[in-house]
């Protein structure tokens, strides 16, 4: 068994254009996903919009540089995650494929020493 983080990546511009109907359906789909895969899910969370992000970089001299915004500028940003446990990558991918992500997709990464 291993742990995998399923990160949901969204194009926030598409969410901004939604009249609320996709959002409502999406909430329902997530509840259904959790119900169907509860045995494998260890943790989950939804992130606030990327405009709320603050990034911190070490400056190499023992100090920090704190800036407004996401760490890396990309069109699709991480909007939520599931931490799941699976026997192998195929099982993890089979679960991750069911994660609702109507405005983008998901990235699956194993945790080191996730056993």
């Amino acid at each position: 068994m291993g742990k995998y983080l399923v990160m949901i990546y969204d194009d926030e511009a598409k969410w901004a254009a939604d009249d609320g109907s996709v959002m409502a359906q999406n909430d329902k789909n997530h509840r259904a996903f959790v119900e169907a895969n509860g045995a494998a899910i260890r943790d989950a969370g939804q992130l606030d919009e990327s405009t709320t992000a603050t990034s911190i970089r070490t400056d190499g001299n023992g100090g920090y540089v704190v800036t407004d915004g996401v760490f890396a500028e990309t069109r699709e940003v991480m909007g939520g995650y599931y931490l799941i446990e699976a026997a192998d990558l195929d099982e993890a991918l089979a679960i991750a494929k069911q994660v609702p992500s109507p405005m983008g997709g998901v990235e699956v990464r194993p945790l080191v020493n996730g056993d």
Binding site: A87, D88, L89, D90, A92
Partner: protein, 386 residues
Amino acid sequence: MADLVAEAVAAAHVSEWAAVLAATARVAADLDLAEDCVQDAYAKALVHWREQGVPRRPGAWLTTVATRRALEHRRRADVARRKLPLLVPDEDPADQTFPDDRLRLVFTCCHPALSQEAQIALTLRLVCGLSSAEIAKAFLVKEATMQARITRAKHKISRTGIAYRIPHVPELPERIEAVLDVVHLVYTAGNQWGIDLARMVRLLLPASAEAAGLLGLLLLTEARQAARVDGAGQLVLMEDQDRRLWDRGLIAEGLELVPEAVREGGRFGLMAAIAAVHAEAGCWEATDWSEILGLYELLFARWPSPVVGLNRAVAVSYVEGPAAGLQQLPDDPALATYSYLYSTRAELLRRLGRTEEARAAYEEALAFTTDPVEVGFLQGRLTRDV
């Protein structure tokens, strides 16, 4: 005197490598360890077979030696609690449908979570037993680059937990497609291992029409190889090929696969059927172009890629004439640097007698190829034919 033992070991490398490694990987639960153990077993064979004679079943001998060594290693590693298994062990009883271990190895190497170039490199390394140097040479990259690519792919397999097993039934068609794509690419890269791999996959997946299709396609393509280039190293188009040079043995073997291959109307099955129509024509003029066009229509419906569209346009040109073919040439940015698009347009213009436009198209084709055989052909057209 020839060294019979060295020859026997070399022959066993070609015919048994995949099976020995596949069985050892199951025990070792680690691809690197399995590879080391198998290499070691081959080295031992050189010594032992010289003293004791070549065993009756070299593959079984090698597997025993390699797996025993893998077990010793694991026992020691377990004592040291050094690491957990790096390959997810196989615990799926459904696997019994496919008893040959080699299939596990092939599916692991061609897992869609790996990049296609990594899939190809791993397959050549682990399934065919080629060295990084040999693979690097075939794909025109530096050995260190290829070595790094293989190492990265192996890390991904162990760290992400890509299982060493046959995919579950719902994923099977998609996963088989990935395997067949890799084998096809190995062949089109000019590597003779493509045919051996296609034979192996056909053997391991007897129920797959597409596996039959791929093998048929490769055999029928390979059969024309001797006629493709003339004595001076010049490319010979199929219409000018000396069909006596076509390999009748390969054609017969390929044709036998076609009825089964087209059964499901899959991509490789249809491509094999097209190759079969060419193979069955006694001369260029006897080619059944309406049959070929029909097959291309089916292929394009199933696989609407611009390259298929381009080949379909060629078929159109032989059924309805070059003007119709010209009209059907795909106008796709994906082909903007594809020399075959321009050489095809040039051929159609030449057949229409539009010499000036044909010249320009041949020039364009030249700008997008560095293959010496193609360059020679295009220059020949420009100096002699238009």
